[in-house]
């Protein structure tokens, strides 16, 4: 990967590369530029994942006419595909450099496609098609499911970490901060409105990167909830988030109606 980054920076194809730099023993997000070639010695892929797409959004908004490279895993590439469709980034101004995830990570994430379309580092592993996390919840009876989720949502300390770390959350004004909707000064926040409304916002947006669950200080299984959202979108609209470069996300467009009332009111 180092060679490719040096090549891209040297030729001027990219003004900077967003990746991870090893500093004081910790990998941290960093923008590598041509001005500091010595930094490239500390470039690493690592096992720790950070929302590099979010960094790209910040940097690209500051320098909209420049092109940037970014390190992407399977999920990041899905994120980029969606961000292009949601008009947050321009495809001709982003050069992704792919990394394929190792087997252990793919299994921990239960990722259906743990590799981008092209990659320079890593080996392809098979994706996981059926998530055990979801099977466990689906296997519970309704009362069990209700008390499970109520208990989980009661742990929430309203840190907004899930939203702040999400690479697909780019809204300037967040509904979860609307004082008429989510009351201030109350912990846990409205159970289940807070989490269900975030889940609805994740329709056609969530790329299943899992950063939300990793950022949650209360260990709420939010990723399971959003994985279910992805499954619902697949079942109801036949749309897989981040898969295709064409066709907008189902709730982002009026489109045509393919549902009947009988499908909805089961």
């Amino acid at each position: 990967m180092l060679e490719r980054v040096k090549e891209l920076l040297g030729s001027g194809e990219i003004a900077g590369f967003i990746g991870l730099k090893l500093e004081y023993g910790h990998p941290e997000p960093y923008l590598f530029t041509k001005d500091h070639p010595e930094d490239l010695e500390s470039l690493l892929v690592g096992d720790v994942r950070y929302p590099l797409n979010k960094v790209l959004l910040k940097v690209a908004n500051q320098y909209p006419e420049l092109t940037f490279g970014v390190m992407v895993r399977g999920c990041d590439e899905r994120g980029l595909t969606e961000l292009f469709k949601w008009n947050q980034l321009r495809q001709d101004r982003v050069v992704p450099i792919g990394v394929a995830c190792p087997r252990e990570l793919a299994e921990a994430c239960e990722c259906y496609k743990p590799y981008p379309s092209q990659w320079l580092v890593g080996e392809k592993t098979e994706g996981i098609s059926k998530s055990k996390r979801l099977q466990k919840i689906e296997g519970m009876k309704q009362d069990e499911r209700l008390s499970y989720w109520q208990n989980q949502f009661n742990k929430c300390i309203k840190c907004y970490g899930c939203r702040d770390v999400c690479p697909m959350c780019f809204c300037e004004v967040c509904s979860l901060e609307d004082r008429n909707f989510i009351l201030t000064g109350k912990i846990p926040p409205e159970n289940p409105t807070f989490h269900l409304s975030r889940a609805v916002h994740m329709v056609g947006r969530c790329i299943d990167c899992g950063l939300c669950e990793e950022a949650c200080p209360s260990n709420i299984p939010v990723r399971t909830l959003y994985k279910k959202v992805g499954e619902i979108v697949m079942d109801v609209f036949g749309y897989r988030t981040g898969e295709s470069a064409e066709g907008k996300s189902p709730l982002n467009i009026l489109g045509e109606v393919t549902l009947e009332l009988s499908d909805v009111n089961k």
Binding site: A15, E28, P29, V48, P217
Partner: protein, 135 residues
């Protein structure tokens, strides 16, 4: 054009979660948790997530302010400290040392909090020392 992240410790409470402050062209723009930190392991509370906001906030005090004629006016450090010291002495003489209370802060270092309680106990002679985390 420069974007970097600086590893630091959150200053809000005694937990000491590790986090990265995002700096874009010399300006603080955001915060990200440090996932390799043994204490916080990638989690942050809402105060930690917004650590970048207070640093360059326009509401921050830059000069000591003293109330003169009912309005806050800028003063020098010497003026302010002399005033505080003389008034505290007066109050201690008139009402006794226990009429004064001290409030420490989680934003201060342990060493600064130690100095404050030494001031309270040894200099003023009162046990009325508490900490904002107890509020």
């Amino acid at each position: 054009m420069e974007y970097k992240t600086v590893l630091t410790t959150c200053g809000y409470c005694g937990c000491g979660c590790g986090l990265y402050l995002e700096v874009l062209d010399g300006e603080l723009v955001g915060t990200m948790p440090c996932k390799t930190d043994p204490v916080s392991q990638g989690g942050l509370c809402i105060k930690g997530w917004n650590l970048h906001e207070f640093v360059n906030n326009s509401d921050r005090l830059t000069q000591p302010l003293m109330k003169k004629e009912g309005q806050f006016r800028e003063a020098t450090w010497d003026e302010a400290l002399d005033h505080v010291a003389s008034r505290l002495k007066e109050i201690k003489e008139k009402n006794g040392p226990n009429s004064i209370a001290f409030l420490a802060s989680a934003k201060c270092t342990n060493e600064e909090n130690y100095l404050l309680q030494k001031l309270a106990r040894a200099v003023v002679g009162t046990n009325n020392i508490d900490h904002c985390a107890r509020l």
